[in-house]
């Protein structure tokens, strides 16, 4: 983060002056998903079920998590029907 603003420089009403995109919540988690693309059947379940919406789908239909926003909850790994996702320590 850039130099933190003083209270006088902050917008009133606790309004966010920066986008949530700038708020990298990925460092909250302990684990992160590692996807075995060879096993993946491109069903996109992980993309739809990720509570952070941080798993994108590539042109070819394969999933790609953005670890900057992954909180390490493990839902994707739990829900993947072919067990293509393994949770590993960050």
């Amino acid at each position: 983060m850039s130099k933190a603003r003083t209270w006088k420089e902050l917008p009133k009403g606790a309004v966010s002056y920066r986008s949530s995109r700038d708020y990298k919540t990925g460092d909250w988690g302990v684990d992160a998903p590692r996807i075995d693309q060879a096993k993946c059947v491109k069903c996109n379940l992980c993309h739809m079920l990720c509570p952070e919406g941080c798993i994108a789908v590539r042109e070819d239909g394969s999933p790609e998590p953005d670890l900057d926003y992954c909180k390490g909850c493990g839902i994707c790994a739990k829900e993947c029907p072919v067990k293509a996702i393994e949770m590993v320590r960050k």
């Binding site: 009133k12 009403g13 309004v15 986008s19 949530s20």
Partner: protein, 405 residues
């Protein structure tokens, strides 16, 4: 000055009538004694098409305040009313309203908090909310309720304030007692309150008015953790400080329109007073009557009526109290286990650093609506005179009108 009409209104009706003239966008309320008449009257105004207000009949006070927060955040003028346990049920949302800087106006017909269950007046409800970040004005009579129910909008929406306001009136004593109330014509009130003002803030998509608008989106009420919460609390401290100036400006402007000016702390016969009582609300009318009697009996008695409790007007209060040597702080609230009741604590704190200050004693009266009679007020002045003579306070805290010592 606008031509005025004299109406017979009780405090609740005065609140509803003033609010009708303000014509807010949203009223979300739930009935609770002794505030019910406000909501009843207002819903009649809505049914009769006399206001443009969207009336939301919510299922609880928690929802009433939540709805007011939503409406106010969307840019509406939002009004609600409550009392006692209803105010208690709003608790968590009170803090949200003030921290999001939403200029909601709420009438509170002060009533004792349960339990045991009691529907009559004391100040335990509003005093419990004193740290919630709301401005709190305490009225002495229905006229003050009418005036404050109009000025409250200008105070709340003042660009340097942007805070919610509680207009407090004593349950039944004011809320249900019909009095003469001078009222302004609708257009004079309309002109006085004008349109809601918005401040501009820096949002994540650039600068915008502080309200929810899909064309200029803002995030309101986000998670605010160790890194920013503290700073945002200082914003509220700062707004309360600014409110002390802003309320004065609004009151002065109202005085020009209505001919009725109010101070934060109004002295009565304080110039040469030896003993004085300070307090808030309807009982101060009785105190004024007793002061007149005592003066005729040759006692140099005085009083100070405090009208504003949040922000606490320490400087005005001291100016009104002046050089009186013995001050009694009379209040309708107990803080269990505390060294004194809330108003006493505030006044003592305000004086702590001063070399010159009055001796002070705390008198709790009227809990659960017990009548505060002239005889009880005489008892307080008697105790003050005794302390004054002895040069010391024999009993810092007394409960006046309770059976048993």
């Amino acid at each position: 000055m606008a031509k005025q009409e004299l109406l017979g209104l009780n405090g609740n009706e005065a609140s509803a009538y003033a609010t009708k003239q303000v014509n807010p966008d949203v009223v979300a309320a739930y009935p609770i004694t002794p505030q019910t008449i406000i909501v009843e009257r207002f819903s009649e105004y809505v049914a009769d098409g006399l206001v443009d207000t969207e009336f939301v009949a919510v299922e609880s006070e928690h929802s009433a305040m939540s709805c007011s927060v939503g409406a106010s955040a969307a840019g509406a003028r939002a009004f609600t009313a409550t009392a006692a346990n209803g105010l208690a049920l709003m608790w968590e949302i009170l803090y949200i309203a003030s921290s999001l800087r939403l200029p909601i106006v709420m009438a509170v017909a002060n009533r004792a908090l349960s339990g045991p269950i009691n529907i009559h007046n004391d100040h335990s409800d509003a005093m419990g909310a004193r740290d919630s970040g709301w401005i709190q004005i305490f009225c002495e009579n229905a006229q003050e309720v009418y005036d404050a129910s109009i000025t409250a909008w200008r105070i709340a929406e003042h660009p340097r304030v942007q805070l919610p306001v509680m207009v407090c009136m004593d349950g039944f004593t004011i809320s249900h007692t019909m009095e003469n109330v001078m009222t302004l014509p609708d257009d004079a009130v309309k002109k006085f309150v004008g349109e809601r003002e918005f401040i501009r803030v820096e949002g994540h998509m650039g600068e915008a008015e502080l309200r929810l608008d899909p064309e200029a989106p803002l995030t309101m009420g986000p998670l605010d953790l160790q890194d920013f919460y503290f700073e945002h609390k200082i914003h509220q401290v700062d707004a309360m400080d600014d409110a002390l100036e802003a309320i004065k400006d609004v009151d002065e402007e109202w005085a020009k329109v209505s001919g009725r000016g109010y101070g934060y702390a109004e002295p009565y016969l304080m110039g040469d007073a030896e003993v004085a009582v300070i307090g808030m609300g309807s009982a101060m009318g009785t105190v004024r009557h007793v002061v007149d009697e005592l003066r005729q009996e040759g006692v140099n008695a005085g009083m100070v009526k405090l009208r504003l409790f949040r922000p606490f007007p320490a400087a005005e209060l001291k100016k009104a109290v002046g050089r009186v040597p013995m001050l009694g702080v009379m209040e309708k609230c107990i803080s269990f286990g505390a060294p004194a009741s809330p108003l006493m604590e505030e006044i003592m704190t305000a004086y702590y650093h001063d070399k010159e200050k009055p001796m002070m004693a705390n008198y709790v009266v009227g809990l659960g609506g017990r009548d505060v009679s002239p005889a009880m007020i005489r008892e307080i002045y008697g105790s003050l005179l005794k302390n004054r003579k002895a040069g010391k306070v024999s009993k810092p805290m007394s409960y006046i009108g309770v059976r048993g010592d």
